[in-house]
Structures are given as structure tokens and as C-alpha cells.
């Protein structure tokens, strides 16, 4: 709906100030608006309830806080005095107007793969939005990390400007998916494990990573920890609606779905699914040891009394309202961080045009002790065909601590 309204507004503006924008320019702005959807610019640069793209909430990185700046065309506080060349250079190299070096919380290591025409469209769109005066102090890192020149060294070690390299042996659809996932979609920013310097470990591309108190799961086709049990249709449905028979999106992914993937075109979502389903391998999978029977019995008792009413005695869930825990990819991750967080804090599904119901899971932090949560998660992770490692009460305690800080 947002998109429709936006399109209408742009259309109306184009009519009202026809001399300023030609039809070609209007088309380019609309294409650029879609690039902003693919890149989820609003996810970071717009605060909930705030003016579009006028600056976001602080991103808590392992190195300190960075605040997404105002990227409206305001001359004082936004990017109104940038040139298109500045913008293109920033997207490709992480070096902005006046040579300011960006931190890779801005996912230029992914955006560098965007092609010039998409970047030009995005620029056309960004220059068309309402300028907002909002001063943002983007760099709140502690010394010495706050010295932007340090990024010169980081980039030398971790970054090469690149273009997307199509694979001619693959279909056009696969290549389109790869272009979105690696480039504007910047999926790896969350889903790829990071080195101690905060750079993507390319050898573990999209195999799952911990950030901001959540575990962004493995989204390769790995049968054990990834999307191996999902069909392409499952994946498209999840990205479009936030819900499918295997999972309901939570946390940062719910936001990404709301702002970005739910607004992507069906062919693009299909392309993303085709590409993701082609990644990963099951070669390294191992079967974790069976948890001990006492913990399984305790976990089952906790499960019966707290979880089964919605998720079913057999973990099968109930359609799109209550996710199945059997074969659930969040359950299957090596890390139990997101699982423990869901039990402790609860979660509510994201509102999308195709799935407006937003079923919720309550917080159980008040009712269950760390050991009880560890036992029930251990039970769930080792039942109904699931085979993920046992969870310790220390694991749960760490998540609880993170939530109460």
C-alpha cells in the first residue's frame, strides 16, 4: 500500500511540476524508489514514525554505535550538496563527499556490486524526496575507532571495489537473484559470519551470524541448518509475507521484510529463492550427540505445559498462525541465541499486505528459569526429526542478560 501511495504521490507531483521532471525522469525516480526498496535504505535511515530517510536509530556494532545519517537532499544536514559522482563513488568504494570514509555498517562492500544504472536511478530517487533538516552525528565510535582514516587500512585489508560478475553457465533468473543477494539486497551484512575486524568471511557466505542479540540464520540450501527443507515457493512466501509453514519472521528480519522484501516484485523474489537454493553444501554436516534422557524428560514436561497449546504436541504448529517447530530453520541453527530470545522476550509477526494478522508469541521470561528454557530448547532441538545441539543454561542466561541491559 505504501508503495502504491508513493507511486500516486510521485505521479501527482510529476503532473503538478511537469516542467521540472520529464516523463523519463519520473520513470527513473520510480525505478530508483524500487532500488531503495531492494537496498532497504529506510531500514536504517528512517526512524519508526520519523521522516523518511532523515536519519535512523543508532546501530550497535561490536565496535560502538554508528547512527545512520540523514540522506534526504537537505543542503545543511543531508546529502543536498553531494554530486551524483559523489554518491556513485560512495556506493562503490565507501568514500563519500569530501573524501569522508564510511564505516562498513553502511553496506558498501555489497553495494559495490550494484551496476551504474541502478545507482543512477537510486540517486534520482534520493534527490526527489522531501529534504528534511535533521543533524545526525553519525560517528559515535570510541577512540581510536572514531578516526575515519582508519578505514583506509580496513579497506586495504578487507575490501575491493567490485562489479557484479554474472555466471554465464547459470540462468538469467539465477544471475538476477545473485545480483540482488550480493548487491543491493546486502543479505550477507547480517547472514554472513564476520572476522574479528568485522569483515564478511566470504568462505562462509550466508551461513549464519550473530548480531545485535539475534542469530541471523544460515540461508544457504544446507539441509540441516539452512533452507534445505524449504521449497522456492516457501522462500518467496516468507520474503513476501513474513510467514510460511516453517517460520514466522522475527527481529531484524521482520523489519527487513516489512520495509524491503515484501515490496519486491514476485519475479525478483523468485530469483532470490533460486539463487539461495543453489548455495551451500551438506558435506560438513554432523549429527550432534543425543541429549541425556533426564534433560529430554524435563524439556518435554516444560514443552507440554508451555508450548504445545500453540505449537502442537507433535511440534507441527498450526498453519501460518503458529510455526511448526519440526524442521524449523531457526530451531536448527547451531546457535540457540534467537530461539532463547524468542522464549524470553516473545515475538510478533510483521504486518505485510498479504499476511496482516501478526500472530504473537508471549514472553515467558517471568515463568521459566534459564535451566527450564535450556531444557525445553534442548528437547525441541532434538525432537520430531530436528537434530541440533543441546542448549546450556549459561547460553540462556547470556541472552537474558542481554535483554535486561
Amino acid at each position: 500500500m505504501k508503495k502504491l501511495v508513493f507511486t500516486l504521490v510521485i505521479g501527482a507531483l510529476a503532473l503538478a511540476i511537469a516542467p521540472a521532471w520529464s516523463a523519463d525522469q519520473a520513470d527513473q525516480i520510480i525505478r530508483g524508489q524500487y532500488q531503495a526498496v531492494l537496498g532497504d535504505c529506510a531500514g536504517c535511515h528512517t526512524q519508526a514514525g520519523g521522516k523518511p530517510l532523515a536519519g535512523g536509530l543508532p546501530l550497535e556494532t561490536p565496535f560502538g554505535a554508528l547512527v545512520p545519517p540523514n540522506i534526504t537532499p537537505d543542503g545543511e544536514t543531508g546529502i543536498g550538496n553531494w554530486s551524483e559522482a559523489d554518491f556513485r563513488n560512495m556506493m562503490k568504494s565507501g568514500i563519500g563527499h569530501n573524501g569522508v570514509r564510511l564505516y562498513p555498517a553502511m553496506p558498501y562492500p555489497a553495494y559495490t556490486r550494484m551496476n551504474d544504472s541502478d545507482i543512477a536511478d537510486l540517486w534520482a530517487y534520493l534527490t526527489s524526496v522531501e529534504p528534511v533538516s535533521n543533524k545526525v552525528e553519525a560517528n559515535q565510535l570510541p577512540f581510536p575507532l572514531n578516526i575515519r582514516l582508519a578505514m583506509l587500512g580496513w579497506n586495504a585489508l578487507n575490501f575491493t571495489e567490485a562489479s557484479f560478475q554474472p555466471d554465464s553457465s547459470k540462468s538469467a533468473e539465477w544471475n538476477r537473484g545473485a545480483y540482488i543477494v550480493q548487491g543491493s539486497g546486502h543479505c550477507g551484512t547480517c547472514h554472513t559470519p564476520k572476522s574479528f575486524l568485522g569483515a564478511d568471511k566470504d568462505s562462509e557466505f550466508l551461513q549464519g551470524a550473530s548480531l545485535q542479540g539475534w542469530f541471523a540464520p544460515d540461508i544457504t540450501n544446507n539441509a540441516q541448518s539452512g533452507l534445505g527443507k524449504w521449497s522456492e515457493e516457501d522462500l518467496v512466501k516468507y520474503l513476501k509475507t513474513g510467514v510460511n509453514a516453517h517460520s514466522i519472521a522475527s527481529g531484524p528480519m521482520a523489519e527487513a521484510i516489512e520495509n524491503s522484501t515484501s515490496k519486491m516484485t514476485d519475479p525478483d523474489l523468485k530469483a532470490v529463492a533460486v539463487y539461495l537454493k543453489s548455495l551451500g553444501s551438506d558435506a560438513g554436516n554432523t549429527q550432534p550427540a543425543k541429549p541425556d534422557e533426564t534433560r529430554m524428560a524435563t524439556g518435554e514436561a516444560v514443552y507440554r505445559d508451555n508450548c504445545s497449546a500453540c505449537h502442537g504436541g507433535d511440534g507441527a504448529g498450526a498453519g501460518v498462525l503458529f510455526p511448526s517447530l519440526a524442521g524449523n530453520s531457526i530451531v536448527a541453527q547451531g546457535s540457540s541465541e534467537t530461539l532463547a530470545r524468542l522464549v524470553l522476550a516473545g515475538s510478533q509477526a510483521v504486518h505485510t499486505a498479504d499476511a496482516p494478522t501478526t500472530p504473537a508469541m508471549p514472553s515467558l521470561a517471568w515463568r521459566l528459569k534459564d535451566q527450564e528454557i535450556a531444557d525445553v530448547l534442548t528437547y525441541v532441538r532434538a525432537s520430531w526429526g530436528n537434530a541440533a545441539a543441546a542448549v546450556s543454561s549459561d547460553d540462556v542466561a547470556a541472552v537474558r542478560k542481554g535483554l535486561t541491559q
Binding site: T294, T298, A301, D305, A309, R367, K369, Q371, E372, D375
Partner: protein, 208 residues
């Protein structure tokens, strides 16, 4: 906040009752629900602990009720219509019982034999004892009976129903809310044990 989850009321130390009042209430709840082959008695089940806790809270102060006058006699179906809140009624009622018994028998309720306690409570319920200070025996007995049953059957989180004793007695499964797996299993006992709002012993592997 109304949405705050309940916290476990634990026995040990009285919050509303004096030691003497607590002993009297424990003796009364143990006659209303005596220990027998079906269950433990009201005292061991924590009914007095439950009542003590309730009288300290919103119930005792009637803080969720309209409590302004005029105070007119109500119909029997309208329940208590007086000015006093439950905390005040307990304070006055318990004092009246001991004052009456001391004058009549030279003993407190706690010191009476069980048969004498039962006889007194029966007479009080029937309006056959004249309690001092205007305390109405049947009404106060009704309050004691009501609160004792609440303590015995309510969730253990509120201080009574120790070890879910009444739920085990009845076969009530407690704080559960989904029976889809059992709806079609006619004439079969429900297999799950009762569970309290704050859990059951099996959660920590302690056994039933």
C-alpha cells in the same frame, strides 16, 4: 500493573494477621477443610497464607470496588453491602470470636477441642451465637468459607492449594488451555498432571 505476572506467595511470616489472628484463622480453615483420606487440611494447604496475602492486597482494601455510601441493607443475592472492607471485617470478626469464646468458655477457639470448634462454627453459621461489637456470625462465616475455598482451589501461586493438592484430588489439569490432542479420546482419563501458573515440579526434573 494489571498485566504484571503474579509472583509466588510463600508461607513464613504473616503480613496482615497478628500471630494470634493467624493461629485462629489456621484453626478455622482446618475445620472447614479437615485433613482426611482425600486430601490434606486447609491449614497445611496454605489457606490462611492465601487469605493473609489477599487481605494485604486489593481484595482486602476493596480497592477495585465502589465503596461509597449510601449503605443500605441488600437482598441476600446481592452479597455484603456494608461499609467495611474485607480487611476490616476480618480484624473485627476474629476479635469478636475470641472475645465471645473467652467470655463463654474461658478459652480461645484454638484451645477448644475439635468437636467444640465444629459446634461453635455450626452455631455461628446458623446465627445462633451473639458475637460482640455488631459482628454478624452468618455473614462472617460466609466470608471465611468463601476465602477458604478460594485458597484451597485457586492456583498455588497465590499461597494456597499446596502442591496443587485440590487439583490432584479433582483431576483438574490446571493452567492448560489446549486439548486438541484429547478431544476425540472418549472415556479415557486425561494423562497430563496439573500445572500451576508458575509451573510444576517436573520442570526442574524433581519428580512429581
Amino acid at each position: 500493573m494489571a498485566s504484571d505476572p503474579p509472583t509466588q506467595v510463600v508461607a513464613g511470616g504473616w503480613h496482615f494477621f497478628s500471630a494470634q489472628e493467624a493461629a485462629l484463622v489456621e484453626a478455622i480453615v482446618d475445620r472447614i477443610i479437615p485433613a482426611d483420606e482425600l486430601s490434606m487440611g486447609g491449614k497445611e494447604a496454605g489457606c490462611a497464607v492465601y487469605i493473609d496475602s489477599q487481605l494485604m492486597g486489593a481484595y482486602g482494601a476493596s480497592s477495585r470496588l465502589y465503596t461509597q455510601g449510601p449503605f443500605l441493607p441488600g437482598l441476600p443475592t446481592q452479597g455484603y453491602q456494608g461499609e467495611a472492607n474485607p480487611a476490616q471485617r476480618y480484624r473485627a470478626g476474629l476479635a469478636a470470636i475470641d472475645a465471645f469464646l473467652k467470655q463463654r468458655d474461658g478459652k480461645t477457639f484454638v484451645e477448644l477441642a475439635r468437636a467444640e470448634q465444629d459446634a461453635f462454627l455450626t452455631a455461628m453459621e446458623a446465627g445462633k451465637v451473639d458475637l460482640p461489637n455488631g459482628v454478624k456470625g452468618p455473614a462472617f462465616f460466609g466470608l471465611l468459607l468463601q476465602n477458604t475455598m478460594e485458597g484451597f482451589f485457586a492456583d498455588p501461586v497465590y499461597g494456597g492449594n499446596k502442591d496443587m493438592v485440590s487439583w490432584r484430588m479433582l483431576g483438574f489439569p490446571g493452567a492448560r488451555y489446549d486439548y486438541r490432542d484429547h478431544v476425540s479420546k472418549h472415556n479415557q482419563p486425561y494423562p497430563q498432571p496439573p500445572v500451576s501458573i508458575i509451573g510444576r515440579p517436573e520442570w526442574l526434573g524433581k519428580g512429581a
